[in-house]
Symmetry: D3
Subunit: 205 residues, 6 copies
């Protein structure tokens, strides 16, 4: 017969989940930052109010931090035929396939912020197929997710589907580059258990 | 070279995602409700402020609505060795495997509410393995997710692992029953494209 | 060189497989039955000659038994645009994907009985794609199996394929509901190792 | 609302499934048989009452029929540390993974016949993990099924598990050889849609 | 900070990989060969300069060696609507799915030799979809790989695709037979860890 | 009956596979190179005799080429607790899971060159589990491949396995970083169909 109970048994009350103090599970002390990277961190603090933990994690090695942030900023912020929101939508849809807690949290917040539509962020994280999307966006995310799940089966018909949805050659490169990047970043985050800054959870709800 | 642009091209600005007026994609008119089911809907309106769309969807057939809600309420609300929060944690972890937009939204909100920890809800929806869980909860969710992904491989060692984590025979039934139920409910929701009530997204953030 | 041998070595002769005395692997004593459930069991004994072990398993909790049997009987026996045989065909095709010994045995027997074609029962259990099916039945089972294997990919084109095969809105609900239910029931049976009554194996051969 | 109905609509009554006149879907006329193969077919007719359709299918080319039957007969009938029943158990467990209608039917009958236990045949076809097996048989089938599902992951620990269950070097070869063979035979049957002789369904029930 | 180092630490310098002295991991002594099989080995030595290790492995049992080589030689060398190169292309594409080291090595060399194009051999082993193939060869390999990955889903549309690419009934048999055979052979090689003769690696580069 | 034939039918003779003139399938003209990138290309020509096509592909955008090569060179060439050979072994084992033709070709050549063992290169590309590896290398590649196949299941036990095999915190970062990077690079190459320079095929054979 079922036991009903008034107070939780041991292990029954979950711990608070936003209390993690360190940026990742590896025990790597922060290295000394170059002037350029220190300025970058200062800008983050000023503009965002915090330094994203992915950067804190890379900061154990100044050269790696520089290479990562240069690569990332070109990809997500440089001029492109894809809007910043579109790039973030790809980021989240890919991270959903890979079930990456860090990236779903940080980039889910970015989709909510850039679209001003909290539900769009949820849909990208949960199942983009359930969203009400333009043909352009459905084609873009179908390509990104196929590239994530079965890259060895991507071929000319997949590129043709993007062209048919209005993407140019350079745009195809950019769709692929964002999807490919988050396949790296999701794995880096999972490998070292990166913890997203708690503030992301509350942004743009 | 990349094209930068000031105003979005057609299809580039996503539609608002919380505007859906109907509870599902099937064109089935609501049937007439029995007094009991009408009272149930009235209670929902009074207590929650809305009738959950899963009930609206079942309401095309009063007998099915009765059978579903009786089954559901016994499962999730009756006395059990599992707390209500634990049952909701299983619901969300299973729905994450099946990527069910409706259930992740509605039951994700329930986890946030019952735990008073918004981040716990996110973790159940994104990847329960990234959460800081007691051995009891890790064993409970490992069982539920294995039962979801490869039910044909579940056997005595899996039940033994639950017993080792402190679950009794009846508790094992309940873990299995909740996990199994959401494997049904996730598929029902995906089959008819159930749309969660918009209010869930904002609850307990 | 190969060893030939006249008498089996230890472990070489399999045990009899129909000798299991209990309905499931959990040690849960039968609860006392309500008058209604007792009457239901009496009817089973009278009509079938036995009480199906799934009901015996649920009988550890009278309320759960009531909820389960009400839900099940509406689903499989109530009026529907799907014949009872069609609902059993879905049950077996889904149980084949999930490799559920209990449901393949009990519902395989039902397909043999209702169709008066033992081979049809085998085909549903082994691989429905090898059967000689009408377009209606192929569409129905393709939908049920896709919903079982990859529910997150089911969408409007899948519903459209059912409509093109002649199914109405309500019929689509029913196809989905039967497929979804057996995704629950298969998992419940696997989780607690339900053992089918031995008599099923010999029925309608 | 549900439509009930008294007579089946078009496509609702399944065709009889044991009526197929040809051995396979390829349109290949039987070749002329060598004296040896003619004698083999005569023996089949005399002992079994029919020629198994797999042999009828290969008979479009006398040389291929000879090579296949020599290979098969050595594998399944020659002296071995594995009993004939054990070899048939492997055959069916492998065919279950590959969902091969022909082999599940023909070799399922063989397990029923050789074990004198119809339920054992069903268990091998449905899910061998649900059977009550000796450690020897569980190890044997675990190896065969792993070799079927993920051959690239089989290594020394898997061979060690067979040795620990009492299998010698030659026995390991034979377990592997039977499992490997049915991975060929299942695919040949599926590729050309081989139809099992109807009599198998009724054997040893 | 990263440690640079001048000499490798233990385990850091890989062992030479072509030094394996035995043909497989099972400890099975070679049996005595029949005159026919001895002659076959002599021919191998004369023509190839070595006896392929797959034959050495089978030589623990003269009858099995005979059955295997008869089956193999009919399949790969007898007259067929498929050229020998085409049969080897199928062998390698299938072995790539199954990641079989022995068969990729031995039959990769055969593709290089028969095509006089080393790159074609690499492409078959790595990903045939990246090769520049005629419609005939793409259809042939798509069929072989689908039969390898999901044999239970192969049906009339797949045979129709081969016919549309110009294959006759007998050719379809042969495509299926080669693909099916390597699904056996790959698993046999993985099960007993067959080691390819080192010479294959250098052939036709 | 089989058709034998003396001359190949249309589509039966494969095209030469190393003749591709362009670096990828996207029609993107090379941009003008910065002095730094021009110097990098000149160094490639001088040292390697060619510019790797991955760099040619990125050269449509000078900023992207800079970001990519800085990131890549830090990862693969900077001081690390992993030798350059070890990093290339990870690159190839990951590319094997993703079946990336470009990376298997270019980095397979690097493993052959750095190890002076052509067979090691083949084994990394075909199935690293078949190689004779030190515990250090087996642990390293098991981690890299699990991170590739199921990143969401990587956790503390996987990091502990690397530590037990002698890897320090920084080394774990580097194993993860190389594995993660090639999950990006494989997908970029597949998305745009990058073609490896033909010379790789012949290197260090």
């Amino acid at each position: 017969m079922a036991t009903n109970h008034d107070k939780p048994k041991p292990g029954e009350q979950p711990a608070r989940q936003d209390a993690s103090a360190s940026a990742m599970a590896l025990d790597l002390a922060p290295g000394s930052l170059s002037a350029e990277n220190q300025a970058y961190f200062d800008t983050c603090l000023e503009k965002l109010g915090f330094v994203p933990n992915v950067l804190v994690a890379y900061a154990h090695d100044d050269a790696k931090l520089s290479a990562f942030s240069a690569f990332y900023n070109d990809l997500m912020l440089a001029p492109s035929g894809l809007s910043k929101l579109e790039r973030e939508m790809i980021a989240v849809a890919v991270s959903s396939v890979n079930r990456c807690y860090y990236c779903l949290t940080a980039h889910g917040a970015a989709v909510r912020r850039l679209s001003d539509d909290p539900v769009l962020g949820e849909l990208m994280a949960m199942n983009y197929r359930a969203a009400d999307l333009s043909p352009r966006h459905r084609a873009m995310l179908d390509f990104a997710v196929k590239l994530t799940e079965t890259p060895h089966t991507v071929g000319e018909p997949d590129r043709a589907a993007l062209r048919a949805a209005g993407f140019g050659e350079r745009d195809i490169w950019d769709v692929a580059a964002v999807a490919a990047f988050f396949n790296m970043s999701n794995r880096m985050a999972s490998a070292v258990d990166m913890r997203p800054n708690a503030v992301y959870h509350r942004q743009a709800r």
